[in-house]
Symmetry: C2
């Protein structure tokens, strides 16, 4: 039974996730570089730590939820990192979205000290984090997954053990490829409809009843029709995730013409100042190049 | 109340669709160039006609379900075509997938004779036709749609009036763009997963629980994992539909980078001898170019 948890990274995702664990009765040692975020977690019942190392020293499980691969690596293996204090038999759970290469490197280093690692990135965004219905895709040893599962279930609804070390990151990359291209699909269709003089709202409705049905058509299709690009899932993050997938593909040899194309569309949205728009703003590029608005 | 129906085109789709109308008690005058198909409909209770003109002469509604735009145009406006016999006030319902330009041309010619037209292409394939759960996307005048609706409901489950003349074809084109690109998305993701040493079946399962959910991931994702490319929806037809969308886009100016890319993938499947494979065979191109199998 896990009782003591280290939690590193208390941003838009980490803060509510840590909150769910506190509410469920776990004892949390928390760390973040931003004092105000740390203070907020403390006001919810957590204990503040002065470093990742300190947050990890009493924990059976240490969870990190951080912005990118270099930060995760520093927190895990760097100076005052968790590796300096985690006891043998404990489990490091990185829930950030990182490169598969970083995951493997950290897992290897921790293994030498008898520490297991799970890579367990999530899908569902800040709303999913707040509502505790994240999709969690975990890779790593089964025994570690089984021990951490009760914690995952406090933070998410669809918790799947997808395979060995790195498989969680692979699943997340796959998820982001599928979501990005499905947004592209819906964007092209709705612009095509509008340019042909049809009503995009009715076309969306007709498509939802059939084989074109997807959650993206349902939610982001509506966003496109409303021209509501308040995030939601930010272009900035989806761009980063796409770039991770493309860089892995480059290294191991995977042909990803659709993901590459969407990579270019993220670049165009960057040019348009849209890094903080919702990722359904892909439609703005298609609109611009077709000289129409859905 | 419609009682007498002309039905032209008794192929893999038309035959079961006509069958549902016969079972519902409509009197059908049927026509097809293939004698055996005509005979089969007659054995189900239909009356054989010697031409589209003859099939249409007693009908309040004439339905066509044909392979492509030139054939639809010939059946509607050509020699011995329905235009020669349909009475004023009757309705011509083309349920084929054709170019929007053909639809407009036929609608205009029929209108001069006081005949209404609906373009009402379907999604759902032969299985949907047999099980009477086609998605039907209809364009044309509301009054005509309201009169024909009871017939649509015998053949399909999701029946939507999407707008004026041509809007049904626009909706179908949109549907095919979305489905094609979603298949591409799932294909790229599952090949990426496999090439990274992950289990595509588990990745599919994890993605189904989250925002990447789509009917294509559910059904075609499984087909890809099983390497089952028995159609289903044939590459040949999806290729034709994609080409219709791209040709309209070329004419009126719509930027469709994703649909164009899939157009190239259909070309590659043609090179591989795959025109009669299920459209989920897109994954075979991604596999070939990534040197792996899902």
């Amino acid at each position: 039974m896990i009782e003591n948890v280290g939690f590193i990274g208390l941003g838009i995702m980490g803060q509510p996730m840590a909150g769910h664990l506190l509410k469920a009765g776990y004892r949390l040692w928390v760390y973040d570089v931003v004092e105000a975020l740390l203070a907020k977690a403390v006001s919810n019942g957590a204990t503040a730590a002065a470093s990742p190392k300190e947050a990890a020293q009493n924990a059976e499980v240490v969870i990190s939820m951080l912005p990118d691969s270099p930060i995760v690596e520093a927190v895990a293996l760097g100076r005052d990192g968790v590796i300096e204090s985690m006891p043998g038999g404990s489990i490091f759970v990185d829930m950030s979205t990182t490169s598969i290469i970083t995951t493997q490197k950290i897992a290897d280093a921790l293994k030498e000290r008898g520490i297991a690692m799970l890579d367990a990135p999530v899908s569902g965004g800040d709303v999913g984090a707040i509502e505790a219905n994240l999709t969690i895709m975990a890779g790593g040893p089964s025994e570690a997954f089984d021990r951490v599962r009760p914690l995952f279930q406090k933070m998410g609804k669809n918790v799947t053990h997808v395979g060995g070390t790195g498989a969680g990151q692979v699943a997340k990359a796959c998820n982001q490829i599928v979501v990005a291209l499905t947004i592209e699909a819906v964007a092209e269709a709705l612009v095509f409809a509008k340019k042909n003089g049809a009503d995009p709202a009715k076309i969306r409705e007709a498509m939802l009843g059939g084989f074109a049905h997807s959650r993206v058509l349902e939610l982001h299709g509506q966003r496109m029709i409303d021209h509501n690009f308040e995030p939601g899932g930010k272009v900035r993050l989806h761009k980063k995730d796409t770039e991770i997938a493309l860089s892995v593909a480059k290294e191991i040899g995977v042909f990803l013409p659709g993901a590459s194309m969407v990579g270019q569309i993220w670049n165009s949205l960057t040019a348009m100042g849209g890094l903080d728009w919702d990722h359904s703003a892909i439609v703005k590029v298609i609109e611009l190049l077709s000289q129409t608005e859905v």
